[in-house]
Subunit: 412 residues, 2 copies
């Protein structure tokens, strides 16, 4: 089924908001086997919006609109879509009760204009809004579908997950199953190259790669008559993929690397402490972004200056002067130092040139990740060949997480 | 002049990429006095793309396309736009020379399909690409304009800034001047409320607020016959705004708060060291994200556990047990400790509950920012009334920057 996604709101056309709703919906609709043909954004203008909805229903089988469902006079989406589908707006008791409860719970007065939200198109399927006041709905005429969802991403995604996904699944006889695998340590084009034998012969399941800064994930999806068949097909392809790319895969369930690391540390009853130079605290802030990180992480050091490396981590003057602050020796000494000072089981460190500048004769993008765990200690060199400070810092932080993950998997 | 922005690329419709190009272009076009009426995204399909370009030229005066200018067979934007504008594609000597230089510099071979990029529509204004191989162009017929830009944001924004902005300015007699002011410590709706007397009577200059997580900025723009008149009008409004909201404004030139803080530390010849609990290193990583931060920042501590607060910062057992780890007393002791240990001029600290959980009887979103500078020491309480971990952490980090900025301005 072909779909058009329309975002309604002048804030998009002013460049004040990025249209992440279209991205979210497209990703999910594609995973469910729908074909998204167009995204449109338009302001709060009734004539232009009506025209665009009508055109979209000529172009495609379904139009999904986000935004313009609020209580103000500017919010016109429901009125326009009802008009295009030839449906009257009628008072809905259940929406009224829910809205009243929403305001009562918050000890707030329900304003006159909120009553506008209680009217819904006759014959529509109503989607209740768990995160706000505007209900969404789906309406059908002659095999063409119109779906209206609220604009705030928190409300839209909640409504999609709890109501719309099920509604859309009901429109197709096929069942969809997918898994998202995450990799680290390999770029998107290299990953695609090694997976080419599988990608080339794909029909179902399909395989698609997604690059994020320094990371790459891919989705394996199957659409079959039963969920069991789809699951079996996906699992079979995962085992093929594993043979080729297994060593780069750190999650088979779309779990973030920092969450994987914190989870494994907890499972293995280990603690970690960090000593960062060029990443300036990004490793610590990523680890502590995971709820419950306090069980495995107590100490982080940002030793940005040589003096700090010496005074806080006991990196010796000899090492700093003989090998320089950006060297495998310094990285190892930092990791040993932070392990000793903190009493943690694992010490992890990084020192490097994030860029845009580097010391004379050295290049931005060179860094050493050090670790100390039990009697083991080692430094691993990374070279990005880039001078992009933000990119490098993020990449080195990911490499620290990757090394910790390898330690926890017994690979180091 | 009314404008439509079209993004070309299946990756948008698959939900793999967010259309940030449309946001960037809209913001800039609006600042220049153009009216953006529609955003569209469409895949690499010649029929649909041609139809959309034709429709857009009926709907509006100008269509700006991003993407689909690459060397592969899928890249069709240039061909379609030339067809719609009735222009032949002709070999361009200067584009060829530039492309050859691009490959020579990188010691790379110019592939056969790159030659496709050397053909441009006859009569078009060519925009050279400083960050890639695909040139952009503008073409005009009967008062309607078509502008084609590359899809990768780095190439598109570079081309916009170096070529397209000047081209567009040439289309209007009016001159545009604007300033972007940044605030901290006030929410968007409160800012709008206090500025209402100015907002209500605005004609030119215009004033528009933009909210970012925990921060708010606003743009003051004027379009007059001369740049001097526009500048004078903007400056006059800035002085009105200053009377009402001056205490929240930290930049009159869209400078980020972390960059403002690093710049002022350098100017005043001061160093800073940080001690973070709930933000887990976000302050340090933001400060060190500014190139040249090493001149003012050498030491950062992430004392996530009570043991770390005691051992690294000498926060006494008495304070921790009498007042708890999340208290003004602990915040001040952390700030004094990090100042003493590092020898920095300013010690800044934070301790709080980022959420989603908090200690029994306490609420997520409560935090204390402490500082020690000279003989002064103080803790400032912040309460977000939110349980959103990421939001709180980012907000507390911003509050640390705000407090440092106030110290550097002599307000604390």
């Amino acid at each position: 089924m072909d779909v058009t996604i329309i975002a309604v709101g002048t804030e998009l056309l002013f460049g004040q908001t990025v249209n992440t709703n279209a991205t979210y919906l497209s990703k999910n609709l594609n995973l469910m086997g729908f074909d998204v043909m167009y995204h449109h954004s338009v302001g709060d203008n009734p004539g232009r919006l009506k025209n665009l909805v009508e055109r979209s229903l000529e172009d495609t089988d379904m139009v999904i609109l986000t935004g313009g469902l609020g209580p103000t006079q500017d919010d016109l989406t429901k009125e326009i879509v009802s008009e295009v589908f030839g449906a009257e707006l009628v008072f809905d008791e259940s929406v009224y009760d829910e809205l009243k409860e929403y305001f009562d719970e918050r000890h707030r007065h329900m304003a006159e204009n909120n009553l506008k939200q209680v009217y819904v198109p006759e014959g529509a399927t109503i989607f209740h809004n768990g995160n706000g006041t505007a209900p969404g709905f789906a309406i059908e005429r002659n095999g063409k579908y119109g779906i209206c969802l609220p604009g705030p991403p928190r409300e839209m995604t909640y409504m999609f997950e709890t109501h719309v996904r099920g509604f859309l699944e009901g429109l197709t006889d096929k069942k969809m199953y997918y898994r998202i695998l995450r990799t680290i340590g390999i770029g998107e084009s290299d990953l695609e190259t090694i997976l080419l034998p599988i990608i080339d012969k794909q029909v179902d399941p399909t395989i698609a790669t997604y690059a994020k800064e320094g990371e790459c994930s891919f989705r394996i999806a199957s659409q079959r008559d039963t969920i069991e068949e789809a699951k079996a097909a996906v699992d079979a392809m995962i085992s093929d993929v594993d043979k080729i790319a297994g060593k780069y895969i750190y999650s088979y369930d779309d779990e973030e690397l920092k969450a994987v690391v914190v989870r494994k540390l907890k499972e293995r009853n280990l603690t970690i402490a960090s000593a960062e130079s060029c990443t300036g605290g990004m490793f610590a802030s990523n680890i502590t972004d995971v709820p419950g990180a306090s069980g495995v992480f107590g100490y982080g050091f940002v030793t940005y200056s040589e003096a700090a490396k010496a005074s806080e981590l006991d990196v010796s003057e000899d090492i700093l002067s003989n090998y320089s602050a950006v060297s495998p020796e310094t990285a190892v000494a930092m990791a040993e130092g932070v392990k000793r000072v903190s009493g943690a089981d694992i010490g992890i460190s990084v020192t490097g040139f994030a860029g845009p500048d580097a010391d004379p004769g050295r290049n931005a993008g060179e860094a050493y990740v050090g670790y100390a765990y039990g009697d083991k200690k080692e430094a691993v060199k990374f070279e990005t060949r880039r001078a992009d400070r933000s990119w490098n810092r993020n990449f080195f932080m990911l490499m620290m997480l990757m090394i910790v993950n390898e330690i926890l998997d017994g690979k180091r």
